[in-house]
Each structure stands twice: as C-alpha cells, then as structure tokens.
C-alpha cells in the first residue's frame, strides 16, 4: 500500500469509526430520537426523503454558485484595481480588512428588507460574503509581485497591461485559487444561512422547517447533505488549484508533457 493510499484508508476509517461510535453510544446510553437520532435512522430518512430533498439541494447549489460567480467577478475586478496601483493599495487595504471583519451575516436582514424573502437575498449574501477574501488575496498577490519579474518585460518595452497579463496575474494565481477555496465555502454558508432566515426553499429552509416540526432526523439529514456538498465544492476548487498552480508547489507531474 502506498503512503497516499494508507492516508486515504485511515481518514476513511476515522469517519466510519466516528459514526459507529455515535451509533453505539446512542444505543448504550439510550438517547432519545428527539435529541440525537442514530446515524442509521438519519441515513434511512435521507433515503426515504431524498426525492423531496433533491430540488432543495439544487436550489441551495444554485444560490451558492450564482452568488459565488458574481462575488468572484466583483472581487477580481476590485482586487486588480487595488493591487495594480501602489497608492490604491496603501489607501484601500486597511479599509478592505475592516470590511472583511464585519460579520457578513448581519447583512441578511437588510437584503430581506430590500428584496423580500426568497432566492435574491440568498444569492446576494453568498456574493457579499465571498468578495473580500478574493479582493484581499488578488490585491496582495499583485502588490507583492517581484520587481525582477516585471523588469524582464519592461526591458522588452511591454505595456502596463501586457505586464499585468504576463506577470502580475499568473503570479497571483496561487493567491487567487487559495482564496477561491475559502470563498466557495463562505458562499455556501451565506446561502444556507439566508435560506434559514428568509426563504421557503433550499436546504437551510428544510432544516428550519423540520426543526420546528420536531423532525429531528430530517434536520440531521440536512446537516449531512450540507457536509457532503461543502466537501464536494471545496474539493473541486482544491483540485483546480493543484492543476493550475502546480508550479508554486513544484508538482513534478505537471512538468513533462
């Protein structure tokens, strides 16, 4: 068994062991279904309710991804504006850090006030929550580009935009993809949160409704769906990061064509 496979096997065992322990403890301690349902019950609920849950899953993914795409667009634009100008970077950076430390969930009630409940506030929350990490990372990546690398193009008489395309942006990619991993998770959290508060669709809303009806195993089923979706989204961007920015971690497998 290779090292990588052993690690995979071990983390799989850990997850399996966790659920096994949960199951056993619930039985041994005789925990009520209303407090903490057993994993087997949750899986059963998930299986039975899946056709009903499916549209909600799509809804949550939809809000997350639309918000994320908008957030990335805005984030990259702002990041490039701030990062390419020394003055803008010095002036705007403290402001950005300040903004990004505001708990963004606080904007949900405002969006509900403006746009009513539904998909719009979920998308907007997903967007707002993921903009700042992207702006900060793009700006930092651009502003810290080694002058030596830019000099190579300057001696060739390259224009500002050629330098940005050929040096600044590629060099910023590792920062950008690192921030995408964080951003997609944040967007997902934002969308679910907004659904919980103000929507009649989406996994967040399903969990909220189930909770008020004491369908405890459905609440946990929702939780498991969220966990799986979160891992899938994160893994996708993590995979993308390794493919695109392998040079930064010196992956040898991208080298020989």
């Amino acid at each position: 068994m290779t090292e990588a496979r052993r690690i995979k096997f071990m983390s799989f065992s850990l997850i399996f062991g966790f659920f096994l322990m949960w199951e056993v403890l619930c039985i041994v301690l005789n925990v009520s279904d209303l407090v903490l349902p057993r994993p087997t019950e949750i899986i059963a609920t998930l299986w039975v309710k899946f056709p009903i849950l499916w549209p909600h899953i799509l809804q949550t993914l939809y809000s997350t991804l639309i918000g994320f795409v908008l957030g990335v667009g805005i984030g990259v634009t702002l990041g490039v504006l701030v990062g390419t100008s020394r003055v803008a970077y010095a002036v705007a950076y403290p402001l950005l850090v300040g903004f990004s430390s505001i708990p963004k969930v606080a904007v949900v009630p405002i969006f509900v006030l403006w746009f009513g409940s539904g998909t719009t506030p979920a998308i907007l929350t997903a967007m707002v929550i993921c903009v700042f990490p992207i702006v900060v990372n793009i700006a930092t990546g651009l502003a810290t580009t080694e002058p030596d690398l830019e000099d190579v193009l300057k001696t060739l008489g390259a224009s500002k935009s050629e330098i940005l395309w050929n040096v600044g942006l590629p060099r910023t990619m590792p920062y950008f993809f690192a921030s995408l991993k964080v951003a997609i998770t944040l967007s997902f959290v934002g969308a679910v949160l907004s659904e919980t508060v103000a929507s009649n669709r989406g996994i967040g809303n399903v969990m909220m409704t189930a909770s008020s009806n004491f369908q405890v195993s459905l609440v946990f089923a929702g939780l498991i769906i969220l966990a799986v979706l979160g891992v899938v989204l994160y893994s996708f961007f993590s995979f993308l990061e390794r493919r695109v920015t392998g040079w930064a971690t010196r992956d040898t497998d991208i080298a020989i064509t």
Partner: protein, 283 residues
C-alpha cells in the same frame, strides 16, 4: 596597448552633454545614479560618459558593486539617471528606439512558465514578432526557440520548469531569452558566471558567431578578463564604488578570434595589464 596614460582621463562630469555627431547606439552623457535621498543617499554611479557606436562590442569590467549592472539598467530604462543624459539609438532611453535583449545577472525565469515559454516571451511582446505570435505559435517560433536552446546545450529541456534546472542551465536559458528576438542592442550582465570553463568557452564562441553574423551592439558586463578580451572590441574598466569609467581601450585583435588565442603571450599580457589596473582601483 598603452593603458597607463588613460587612467587619469579628464573627469567625466566636466564634459558637456553633446548632440550626436554620428549614429550611436548607446550614449551616456555624464549620467549618474543616486539611490535614496538625504542621509541615506547611495551614489551607485558617478557621472559616467560612455558611447557605443552601432555594432560595437564593449566589455565592462570593474570591482563588485561599482555600478556595472546600474549602467545596464540605465540603458534598458529600468531606472532613470539622477543627472546627465542617456540616449539609446539617438533617442531618450524611454523611447526604446532600439530593440533590446537583456540577460539579467540573476536569471529571472518566470516560474509558472516552461523554459520554452520563458524563452519565447520576447516574441510575444516585441514587434514585429508579437503581431504574428498567435498564428505562428506552434510553428516557426517554436522551432526557433528549440534550435536556440539546442545551440546552448539545452535540447530536451524545453518543457521543463525553471526550478528543474541547475543554475548554469538557467543562465543559458537566460541568454537564449535575450537573443531570441534578434535584438539590435544586447545587454549581458555576467551571462556566463555560473558555468564551467569548457561550457563557457563554447558559449563565447557561439556568442562571437552570433555577433559577427548580425552585428548587434553589445554591452557585456563580466568579471572574467579573458572573456572580455576574447569577445570585445573595447574594454572599459570602472573604478570602485561609486564607479566611473577610468580606462577605455580597444582590443586590437581581428575577429573572429580563435579560442586558443587566449593562451598567446600578447593576450596574457593584455589581461595582466587589465588585472593590475583593477587591482589598483579596488583600493
């Protein structure tokens, strides 16, 4: 060669900036460089006057830190002179009247590009190549890069990333990147510093052939006096920091030169003379 008389040349600063009598490729007129200001100001280059006619091959030697790289940065317009004038191709340096190829002292390959892509970069940026870059990409340009890489002994490394190459190999890629777009003005900053003697001599010959073939103007910074003597038509010696040019001598040996020449008595005598001169100015 009579170098002693030239040591006490008239101070460069005294000469007035002149307008061009002849076509010059590089013309530094009392150009100086001061980094920083006030208390922390560092004079990197005393007012220096240096002129290269089109097709000249000048070697610049001098003790470490005397401002050789600074002169190259002036000519390539990476920095502006604090005083004086820098003309390239008869125009201000920032106009970029000549097509410049520069090999930096540290081979700064872009780490996200393969060697092939790195060497191809000038073709993507510099006219007229940039206009046909998209169409040509897979064909002619690529063959050209591969041919040049093969010439410096890097065949088979085109698809490697910079961090997979040794220091000397990087330096050779760096040289290729400076040459690929057939520059009119070649600025080489210790391009063979990290190479063994045999590879170095091989590359001297390649550079000499290339020079005699296309006759670009070359400004070569080096610490190797034999390298300077073998390649250059003129050798300029700089004083210790803050440097200025204290000797400017022609090398009166017809080109092409044979590598065996560097062991001839006249050549050894010439490099000895230069050596003594630098030994004096280091103090």
């Amino acid at each position: 060669m009579d170098m002693k008389n030239n040591i006490i040349a008239e101070p460069d600063a005294v000469r007035k900036p002149t307008t061009l009598p002849r076509r010059s490729a590089v013309d530094l007129q009392a150009a100086s460089v001061v980094f920083g200001s006030g208390e922390k100001a560092v004079t990197a280059l005393s007012p220096t006057t240096l002129r290269l006619d089109a097709g000249d091959f000048v070697a610049l030697v001098g003790p470490s830190g005397c401002g050789k790289s600074t002169i190259l940065r002036l000519v390539s317009n990476l920095i502006a002179p604090s005083s004086g004038v820098v003309l390239v191709g008869g125009r201000e340096a920032k106009v970029k009247a000549l097509r410049i190829g520069m090999a930096f002292q540290n081979p700064t390959m872009l780490p996200w590009l393969t060697i092939e892509q790195n060497v191809m970069m000038p073709l993507k940026i510099v006219p007229p190549f940039k206009h046909s870059f998209r169409q040509d990409r897979k064909g002619a340009f690529r063959d050209r890069v591969h041919a040049l890489l093969a010439q410096v002994g890097l065949a088979g490394f085109a698809n490697h990333f910079p961090w997979q190459l040794s220091g000397g190999m990087l330096q050779r890629s760096n040289l290729c990147r400076a040459l690929i777009h057939e520059p009119d003005l070649l600025l080489l900053d210790e391009p063979f510093g990290a190479l063994d003697q045999f590879t170095r001599e091989e590359l001297w010959q390649i550079l000499q052939d290339l020079y005699l073939d296309r006759k670009p103007t070359v400004l070569l910074v080096t610490h190797d006096l034999r390298e300077a003597g073998f390649l250059a038509k003129r050798i300029c010696v700089m004083s210790a920091r803050p440097g200025r040019i204290i000797s400017d001598e022609a090398v009166n040996i017809p080109q092409p030169r044979d590598i065996g020449m560097i062991y001839s008595p006249e050549f050894v005598e010439m490099t000895q003379g230069l050596r003594e001169l630098i030994a004096q100015v280091r103090k």
